[in-house]
């Protein structure tokens, strides 16, 4: 059962990313309202999900590649430093990406979603799950203390790097798409954008704190 655990985390982080209005559902709603068609909301979902998938895919691929060439402890310290620094920087300098434009096609929306996910460090949040090489998982049978990395390594034991990349991007994006689509349709059909005034708490703050905590987590556990 513990082999399922890392997959649930990847899926759960997808759900979490989808909640953020800056990650896509709000844009889908706006395009629907602009054209006054629900079809426009639905049409926006595929490119938005694709851009997000590409953004986190690039980060996961980079980690999988780095762990082949870098010593494990160097990888851990490097990853922790990047996460912490990114979260810290974004916490105090919350500049939004410069994007202007409501008249967007498939390519525009994909690029936009890629930029937004990358600028928020969406992929970085997944980094700790991929730090350990599969062989580290064997340690699980020896010691009584099971680290997060070992659990992940166990869950990913049956995957080689390309299939692990594909599967984790797919699982994450599925979670992301579920909340993005769900909230977009709910807001478009029922709630209306007036709820933004009450419900749009500063998720970026939580998000950046999460990145910093994740960075600390890598070193401590």
């Amino acid at each position: 059962m513990s082999g399922l655990w890392p997959w649930l985390v990847i899926f759960g982080l997808g759900l979490f990313h989808g909640i953020n209005p800056a990650m896509g559902w709000l844009f889908a709603v706006a395009l629907g309202l602009q054209e006054q068609k629900r079809a426009a909301v639905l049409r926006a979902l595929a490119p938005i999900a694709l851009g997000h998938a590409l953004s986190i895919g690039v980060i996961i691929a980079a980690v999988l590649a780095a762990r082949v060439s870098l010593p494990h402890h160097a990888l851990r310290i490097g990853a922790a430093a990047i996460l912490f620094a990114f979260g810290f920087y974004r916490l105090f300098r919350s500049r939004h990406p410069n994007w202007v434009g409501m008249r967007v096609g498939f390519g525009d929306l994909t690029l936009w979603s890629f930029i937004m996910a990358s600028a928020h460090g969406a992929g970085l949040m997944l980094v700790p799950l991929f730090l350990a090489s599969p062989t580290v998982g064997d340690a699980h049978h020896i010691g009584s203390h099971v680290t997060m990395e070992q659990t992940c390594a166990l869950g990913f034991a049956n995957f080689n790097a390309p299939s692990l990349l594909t599967a984790s991007v797919a699982v994450h994006t599925l979670g992301y798409l579920l909340t993005t689509a769900g909230i977009a349709i709910l807001v478009y059909e029922k709630l209306g954008v007036g709820m933004l005034r009450r419900a749009w708490f500063n998720i970026d703050l939580v998000w950046m704190l999460a990145l910093m905590i994740t960075g600390a987590f890598i070193l401590l556990f």
Binding site: A30, Q36, M102, L196
Partner: protein, 464 residues
């Protein structure tokens, strides 16, 4: 510091913004009349009818240097921060960006924590505007998707081209010129946009050298002042199309696009036609992917005894209406048109933008009429309805009477003692004076009005 929830004055749509609570304060640009030794100021006016100081000046912040000529100004952030493609709703609407039209100095004024005591927190000196934007004479301010947009009438040497430059909405650093490709555009005045169509529009007055010594009759009669509007790609910052109103239409000023981002039309006012001294309002609209123009309102000149006319107008034997400002209510239903020459504020029902219907009017001031305010029915007034601002709910209309220091005396040779008044607007049209609101000001000339929390020309929206 970022907020935890969106600034409460941000609304996703104009429809929702109309439900905003009534404003309690108005901020008014005040400039010194010719000959005065006063520095310009930003005034705070109490507009809360329940207050003991209703209709009075309750605060004032003086500019640090002499001779700015404060004119138009705007907020650091507004409802466009909720736009889905670059959302940053946790900034505060708090700072007023207040340029001096003559000095090219820009003041950043903090209206919190106490709106009665605004404070200057940053001054951008003219040299910095010249060096970093290669523009001068900053004018209209709009908060928008990429930060703060500032229009500028000309180049540092007072010639053209005029255009738009950008300010960072947090640091107020000048980021440089907005245009990537300006095409044939040279003259500049106002600008605004259709966020739903990634389109910016700009209008034309004249270069600083053409206006700073008064209206020049040779330029005017030679059709040298602006008579076009320009359509731009807001996203790529490129000129797309120039629309010409005709040589005889002189000075195309305030632009009021529909607030609803799904509607692709708007109104622009023209000061005077050389043909018959009439003024007009034109509708721009999208037609098969391109933009088109149509004159939808024409206001005729009023015949007058040449003896009573200022030298500039004697030969014409008529008072031109001189439409110098217009404003559109947030529901895109009522258009207010200031006739600074004849002294009339007109209200049109523009539910059908192609066929405006006159729905209300009041008279006050005017070159010939000098109509008094009902609170002081025996006191003739100089100047006429000019900068007009409509409350978000559409129920209150504020306006002031001065135009531009170098031009005021040409039309009102005995001077423009300044005043600000308020109208109450009916739900289905019609306007009446609020008899308790008549703010006279002999030390300053009052100009643009901004309302606390936003008004009908301060915010733009990405949701219908």
């Amino acid at each position: 510091m970022p907020l935890l929830k969106p600034d409460p004055t941000f609304y996703p749509s104009p429809r929702l913004a109309m439900q905003a609570p009534p404003e309690k304060y108005a901020f008014v640009a005040a400039l010194n009349p010719p000959g005065s030794k006063l520095n310009d100021a930003l005034l705070v006016i109490d507009v809360d009818p329940g207050s003991r100081t209703y209709g009075q000046r309750v605060g004032e912040v003086k500019m640090p240097e002499f001779g700015d000529e404060l004119h138009h100004f705007g907020w650091n952030a507004c409802s466009s921060a909720l736009c889905p493609y670059a959302p940053h709703p946790h900034v505060e609407r708090r700072y007023l960006v207040v340029p001096g039209l003559r000095s090219s100095r820009i003041h950043i004024i903090d209206t919190k924590p106490n709106p009665r005591k605004p404070k200057i927190v940053k001054v951008i000196e003219p040299e910095e505007v010249f060096a970093r934007a290669n523009y001068s004479r900053p004018h209209t301010i709009h908060c928008g998707p990429e930060g703060i947009y500032v229009s500028a009438l000309g180049a540092p040497n007072g010639d053209g081209p005029g255009g738009i430059f950008m300010l960072d909405c947090e640091t107020f650093e000048i980021l440089g010129q907005w245009e990537m490709n300006r095409g044939p555009q040279f003259l500049h005045y106002d600008f605004w946009w259709h966020l739903g169509f990634d389109t910016l529009l700009s209008s034309e007055w004249g270069t600083p050298n053409m206006i700073e010594n008064g209206v020049q009759t040779d330029l005017l009669l030679g059709s040298k002042y602006g008579h076009q509007i320009h359509v731009w790609d807001l996203r790529r910052r490129r000129h797309l199309q120039a629309l010409d109103l005709g040589n005889e239409q002189q000075m195309v000023l305030e632009m009021r696009p529909a607030h609803d981002p799904t509607k692709a039309y708007g109104f622009v006012g023209v000061v005077v036609s050389l043909k018959d001294l009439s003024a007009s309002v034109w509708l721009w609209h999208r037609n098969n992917g391109a933009w088109d123009l149509k004159k939808v309102i024409e206001i005729p000149a009023e015949p007058a005894d040449p003896e009573k006319l200022p030298p500039l107008l004697k030969d014409f034997k008529a008072v031109p209406p001189l439409v110098t400002d217009i404003d559109l209510s947030l529901d895109d239903k009522f258009l207010y048109v200031s006739c600074w020459g004849t002294g009339e504020m007109l209200q049109y029902d523009v539910s059908d933008p192609f066929n405006p219907k006159k729905s209300g009017s009041v008279r006050i001031g005017g070159i010939i009429n000098r109509t008094p305010h009902p609170k002081k029915p025996n006191q003739p007034l100089a100047g006429g309805p000019q900068m007009v601002e409509v409350s978000r709910d559409g129920k209150r209309v504020y306006f002031t009477n001065s135009l531009y220091a170098a031009w005021d005396e040409q039309f009102y040779p005995d001077g423009v003692d300044s005043w600000m008044v308020k109208l109450d607007a009916g739900r289905d049209g019609g306007v009446t004076f609020d008899e308790n609101f008549f703010l006279e000001s002999s030390d300053y000339r009052v100009h643009q009005v901004r309302l606390e929390g936003g008004d009908s020309s301060s915010d733009s929206f990405c949701f219908p």
